[in-house]
């Protein structure tokens, strides 16, 4: 198993300290809350979706560095993207950190989000990285709550 320390790369630490898209969109069209019962991580996503595109997205909540950085990077990555692409990214991200991608499978949509691939070696932290994506998935499906349980 790799050293957990390797996960805490500069980008992740930096996004944890200064999360992007932090806050709440007042006139959102989509919204969901996510909980990670294990860590007590809590996340609230609000989105404005127009013409099948993620026009804007913000998050609030409190969580560990992995969760916060994942949310920060996720919001940046999906903003301006078509909903279908955001869904596909969520799929790839979850596959990557859970380690259940087919061998040799590519994650072309993820770009620098592949920073989180090391999480798969730390099973106890997978849920932290996935929480923002699970919450996004719930919001896009019109569900109010997501849980990593």
């Amino acid at each position: 198993m790799s050293n957990p320390r390797e996960l805490y790369q500069q980008v992740i630490l930096e996004h944890n300290k200064k999360p992007r898209n932090f806050g709440k969109l007042e006139s959102c069209t989509h919204h969901a809350e996510g909980h990670n019962p294990l860590c007590g991580d809590q996340l609230e996503l609000s989105l404005i979706i127009e013409n099948g595109q993620v026009q804007d997205i913000k998050f609030t909540g409190s969580g560990c560095a992995i969760d916060t950085a994942s949310a920060s990077l996720m919001t940046g990555a999906v903003k301006g993207k078509p909903v279908a692409e955001a869904e596909a990214m969520a799929e790839q991200f979850r596959g990557m950190v859970r380690g259940d991608l087919e061998p040799g499978a590519q994650t072309p949509l993820l770009g620098k989000l592949t920073l989180f691939s090391g999480v798969k070696d730390l099973p106890s932290r997978v849920k932290c990285a996935v929480l923002p994506w699970a919450t996004l998935h719930a919001a896009l499906k019109g569900e109010e709550e997501a849980s990593t349980e």
């Binding site: 957990p4 860590c39 007590g40 560990c64 932290r125």
Partner: protein
């Protein structure tokens, strides 16, 4: 004249624990997680293995020498437990799977008998979920309510509240002897005396107390006392419910099946007396024998010497950790066992846990199955280090430098 305690020979003791010579991520393991589970000394592991290898059978079965021998070992372990906690009779020692099962047993038998609609169950603000949820389930079933003994910011129960909280409707009090989060050693003897003055029995959750303190259930006058083998340097799967004989005799059985009956017919089944009537089915025999061996081991080291050693580590670690800027220790009770929960500004306990893990330091990061305690202190989780008789000052130093390293990384 005071006699000074001969200190523990920790370097010799450490040889009894193979885990301590492992490493994680290339760093020698520093095990500061005995509050999650105590490590088992080799003698106890070997005693269990010997049972499985040479003596394996079932207990209370038939006339074979083999079965008689196993029964004797198994019952001898019960006697060791009796003596260890100062109970009057082995009839008062019921084997369970652990603390959790022991408390459920009481809630489902004694509780069901006595708690009625409108009654109250009084618990402390620092209970483990094991001493909350079984009572909530009972309260829901019966239409009873749960009341809570509050605590101070230092993590001490406010005993002055008891006069008001103990009412004519209170049917049982549940209190943890040593908090698994805060380390607080609660004055259970005093709480029991106050409850008894109003005719209310008390169940004590002793899971974290037995590894650190001399427990004497008679002196405490506890009605019920529950603990787990695995926190006491024993194996998982075995635990103990102590109950005053008068209570146990009056309680109905819980699980039904073999081993707990006197006679069974289609018309009527009768039960054997306590503790047997609470022990349906084949018990974890090797685990019971292993726990007996673990108790022998602890007695050999000497509980007073263990307590003195752990106290010294507690004081040393408290001093070192308190000196770290931004670090806050939860639980500043005057009477504390060797458990330190802390939070560091700007670093989530799970990140701290992962980073300590990267340094070979095994601690618990989380809510410690005590979410109401987390809520009381307004934190999502804490990082917790717990110290046992095989830990050293060097272990504390490694912890402290690993914490400092994490803080540096998050700067």
């Amino acid at each position: 004249m005071t006699t000074t305690l001969h200190p523990l020979d920790v370097s010799a003791i450490r040889k009894d624990f193979s885990l301590l010579s492992r490493d994680f991520h290339g760093k020698p393991v520093v095990y500061l997680d005995s509050a999650v589970s105590g490590q088992m000394p080799l003698v106890a592991i070997e005693r269990m293995a010997k049972y499985e290898r040479e003596e394996h059978t079932n207990v209370h079965r038939g006339v074979s020498t083999l079965s008689q021998e196993a029964t004797d070992f198994y019952e001898a372990a019960r006697e060791k437990v009796r003596k260890f906690i100062g109970a009057g009779s082995i009839k008062e020692i019921v084997w369970t799977r652990g603390t959790t099962e022991a408390i459920n047993l009481v809630a489902q038998t004694y509780g069901r008998m006595h708690v009625k609609e409108g009654d109250e169950i009084l618990l402390s603000a620092m209970e483990h979920h094991a001493n909350i949820v079984p009572w909530q389930m009972l309260a829901q079933e019966k239409g009873a309510t749960i009341k809570v003994i509050p605590m101070t910011d230092a993590g001490e129960l406010i005993l002055g509240s008891l006069d008001e909280l103990l009412t004519a409707r209170t049917k049982i009090v549940g209190v943890v002897h040593v908090s698994n989060v805060l380390g607080t050693v609660n004055p259970v003897k005093e709480i029991i005396a106050k409850a008894h003055a109003k005719g209310v029995p008390v169940l004590v959750d002793g899971a974290q107390a037995v590894p650190h303190l001399h427990v004497d259930v008679k002196d405490l006058d506890a009605d019920f006392y529950a603990f787990s083998g695995h926190k006491l340097s024993g194996p998982t799967g075995i635990g103990v419910l102590y109950g005053k004989l008068a209570h146990l005799e009056a309680m109905p059985p819980w699980h039904g099946g073999g081993n707990m009956i006197r006679s069974v017919s289609w018309e009527k089944t009768t039960y054997i007396p306590a503790p047997g009537k609470f022990e349906a089915g084949t018990p974890p025999i090797a685990a019971a024998i292993g726990l007996g061996a673990a108790i022998d081991y602890l007695n050999n080291l000497g509980l007073d010497r263990i307590a003195a050693h752990e106290h010294e580590l507690l004081v040393y670690a408290t001093e070192k950790l308190s000196a770290i800027p931004g670090l806050r220790i939860l639980g500043q009770a005057k009477e504390k066992a060797s458990v330190i929960s802390f939070v560091v500004e700007g670093i989530h306990p799970h990140d701290m846990g992962s980073l300590l893990d990267g340094e070979g330091v095994v601690v618990r990061a989380g809510h410690h199955c005590a979410q109401p305690v987390m809520a009381r202190f307004n934190v999502p989780a804490t990082t917790r280090a717990s110290f046992a008789y095989f830990n050293t000052r060097e272990d504390v130093d490694v912890l402290v430098s690993a914490v400092l390293k994490a803080i540096e990384l998050f700067k």
